[in-house]
Subunit: 221 residues, 2 copies
Amino acid sequence: MTKRKPVREEAEAPAVAERESRAPVEAIRAAAFAQFAERGYPVVTVRDIMKACGLTQGALYNHFKSKDELLHDIITSTQGELERQCKQAVAGAGDDPRAQLAAFVRVYVVRHCRLRIEALVANREIGWLDAERVADIRRSRRAIRDIVVAIFVEGVKRGVFDPPQVDGRNDFKAIAMALLDQCTHVSKWYGPGGDLTEEQMANLYADMALRMVGAQPTRPA
Amino acid sequence: MTKRKPVREEAEAPAVAERESRAPVEAIRAAAFAQFAERGYPVVTVRDIMKACGLTQGALYNHFKSKDELLHDIITSTQGELERQCKQAVAGAGDDPRAQLAAFVRVYVVRHCRLRIEALVANREIGWLDAERVADIRRSRRAIRDIVVAIFVEGVKRGVFDPPQVDGRNDFKAIAMALLDQCTHVSKWYGPGGDLTEEQMANLYADMALRMVGAQPTRPA
DNA sequence: GGCCAATATGAATGACTGTTCAGGGGCATC
DNA sequence: GATGCCCCTGAACAGTCATTCATATTGGCC
């Protein structure tokens, strides 16, 4: 994307040191990202990445310890941003679990429509990381799932949700996984040239989510 | 699908020649399968696969043209069987679209719980195949989606479904994709050691599916 | 002008890749 | 016993890979 050469910018803007130190790293990140998305981590070579930002293979190791670390770096930043947005959406949705769930799904779906490349890489390439690097990403995913579960719990407590039960018992985790799976994987097939806009997708999925948990109408019809 | 060498079959018990000709091919398939599932197609070597079934790398090429063809063979047989099972489930579910949808989801979910390794490979590794080999797999997936869409259409026509709309219009394809995504990806997280049995998963997902499309209760409560 | 710390280069390293192929065994058939 | 077929072996081939490193270039600072 933004391909920047290490041009020294004369002392002016306050972010001088920052921009200078960030430029090559950012270029590598962006190039790696685009290539991982298109062709997949294991078949993208270090040479490919570096050539795409006008450098040679050796230069990578001035900025990242290894190819693995580069991937990890990319995925964690995407995942962290997703978690942050989800929390923010729920926090800003007021008190009603129905509104919270709708807000959550809306943000989640819009993000996965808009940044579907990022989502794709994060979901598809995670398997190439070694166990310890994968751990904190899994933690973040569990955290997101638990946000959803908490909304379910509160909604049932207040009597505004009536989710499907398994042999008379609730299994919020399974329902949360089903919901997240369906929302996550819009990134696999949604395209802006399709029938629906991001906004329409968000509305549709929020609607389906509320139906899945048997939400009562917000105001008495 | 059934790849059979041009072995002249002597006139005798048909099972003999079949067993003999199938043994090495099947062993390779199974070994490749297990390894692709665990580590991913591009990092599994031909040597790995063949060692796992007690042969050396060269022997692969007595049975498959290339590593690519081996993967393609594995995925198409899985996908074909899935499509067959889905059609059968719907056909055997009687006339009511609600029963058809429930039967479809039940079969689809049970299969993706039970054969989650197969599903995982088929979904994750498909990207390594070249365009022409990928085409018939995509065709099969569209066929499955269209089964679902057809059920939606019929259900709405009969007034037993009331699915969420987008700006007053139906988008059955989007809903079908959402439903299939959520059912497909149980293969990523379901484990027999978890809280629910396959049967309970099937019931839960069938229930959610009916809710998603606003199905009327089957008999007046 | 001289020095320093970053950073880029590109050849070299050593390992691993999918695929080919000449050679050889095992076995049912003549 | 010979023939012919299927199948396997294991070395060889021609690549590609991530990573390292000695060497060079750079701009900022004294």
